[in-house]
Symmetry: C2
Subunit: 339 residues, 2 copies
Amino acid sequence: MATNKQIHLVSRPKGEASVDNFRLVEAPVPALREGQVLVRHHFLSLDPYMRGRMNDSKSYAAPQALDDVMIGGTVGEVVESRHEGFKPGDQVIGMGGWQQYSVVDPSHAGMLRKVDTSHVPLSAYLGAVGMPGVTAWYGLVKICEPKAGETVVVSAAAGAVGSVVGQLAKIAGCRAVGVAGGPAKCEHVVRDLGFDACIDYKAGQLERELATACAKGIDVYFDNVGGPTLDAVLPLTHVHARIVVCGMISQYSATEPYALKNLRWVLVNRIRMQGMIVFDWKARYGEAVAALGAYFAEGKLKYRVDVVEGLEHTPAALNKLFDGSNQGKLIVKVSDEPA
Amino acid sequence: MATNKQIHLVSRPKGEASVDNFRLVEAPVPALREGQVLVRHHFLSLDPYMRGRMNDSKSYAAPQALDDVMIGGTVGEVVESRHEGFKPGDQVIGMGGWQQYSVVDPSHAGMLRKVDTSHVPLSAYLGAVGMPGVTAWYGLVKICEPKAGETVVVSAAAGAVGSVVGQLAKIAGCRAVGVAGGPAKCEHVVRDLGFDACIDYKAGQLERELATACAKGIDVYFDNVGGPTLDAVLPLTHVHARIVVCGMISQYSATEPYALKNLRWVLVNRIRMQGMIVFDWKARYGEAVAALGAYFAEGKLKYRVDVVEGLEHTPAALNKLFDGSNQGKLIVKVSDEPA
């Protein structure tokens, strides 16, 4: 019987997660029961929400259990199936977690979806055409309803979600302004992704540069970070602006919450601010993935992946999301794709 | 020619407004031009938004001009008309300002609406069946869309807007929980207005008492005050809660903005938070006033007025809105209604 390397969460981090919060465990791959599918993972996805799940506090999802496989999105290949909807060789996306193999029961709790890799590479289904892309699509297109000529600002603009938000804003005929950390990311966002401008918040002139880049005011803000960036955006909003609160990267590892000073602009400009979690919109995944896949195939949706090699490096790699050192969608290569 | 007593704003307050910021001025009542109407005011309305207008900062409306009549809603009677839509004796509501008479040009910028006083007293058109009532109706019914069985919390619950919000929540089959300052207001809100509970924030146990009164979580929060009350509500929200930000009484005279700590709940519970200014919804006034007038005539909408006698006492009376000493809708009696 094959061995399945897994990474378990064994203690809850305070502040930043450390490799000591995790343990590499070897377990046998269990035999399949009727209705189950065995998936061999090629890539697993590292995403900011994971840090929140490690806390034992009330949030939109139950905390990650201790001494169990860390949750996470995965793409891979069916290697054995006792479910009539799947056969060996199928390329699939699921929530397989931080391990080499997962056993999924697609008819019950388990999510497993076959994907078409003829025009879109498998790894993209963890990024621009996967959960982060769906997040961007739903949050921008459906919640914020941008109109041609409006100005859309997105934070974490070089990240997996933000990079798609800006490109979708351009497709909608908007001015796209990113906020990212460091000149390299900002250059990538403008040159490679086609944003109109990108502001390096680390340069210390966020408010002034935002005001310059958004001379007609901000109509839409897609917030991935919370904290001081939101405070800088609020006074620059246009009347009836829409803000989708999609993430608070700046807050996930914070021990004291940031205190927001400019909420009065919600009243002054009659802003609609809406929290959004992509997992609420599972019913729209198909529609979103179809739209994103089509943009990708047409060359209108570019993306970059930052690939970490080897499951055992996953815990150390996670913090790249929070210290800003990842360059594009952060994924871990768990095994080679078959030739 | 008749004399028109007026109150002008002559300097901009820092913090609380003082009587020294105003001056009583006597001006002649001008002769009417074609298309104009002369209105004699019986009551004028004192409302929290007025304090914000006295500031010289960007807000949803232009600042109140210095050395000019303070703006404000008024009800009164047409005494002379050169407009075909109005005749002497018509009971009207308008934005006549802090003065005894106003000259209105209803076909152009001036707002003037005839009201039916057969079932609703004239003064109610400044309160439960007027702008505050419309604010409550639009913010609660149209923005928050409360469903039967949900829990609705409203701050400044004994105020002109809040008192209507809670009664509309009860009409919609919701649990209505108020927040107000002091035991007398709380008793009024529960006993006279029919709320299920009312919490005295001055008693210092706001978070604990809110949690007890809203055991199933808060589905809708109608925010008139901002500040610490909003911070107390956010962690108690139910998933997909709606918050309408309708006022920030606690902030209007503040020299430093309150720093909000619990914004993360907007993400956690996917809250929709929306700023609202009733002046955006002029097109819906008629619909709202008809609904409110019908509830009033059926005895389902109770209200209380706090009447200050005499135009000259208007400046001193304004601060009753901010120190919480008014008992119900604050209005100033400018002249007697005709017998």
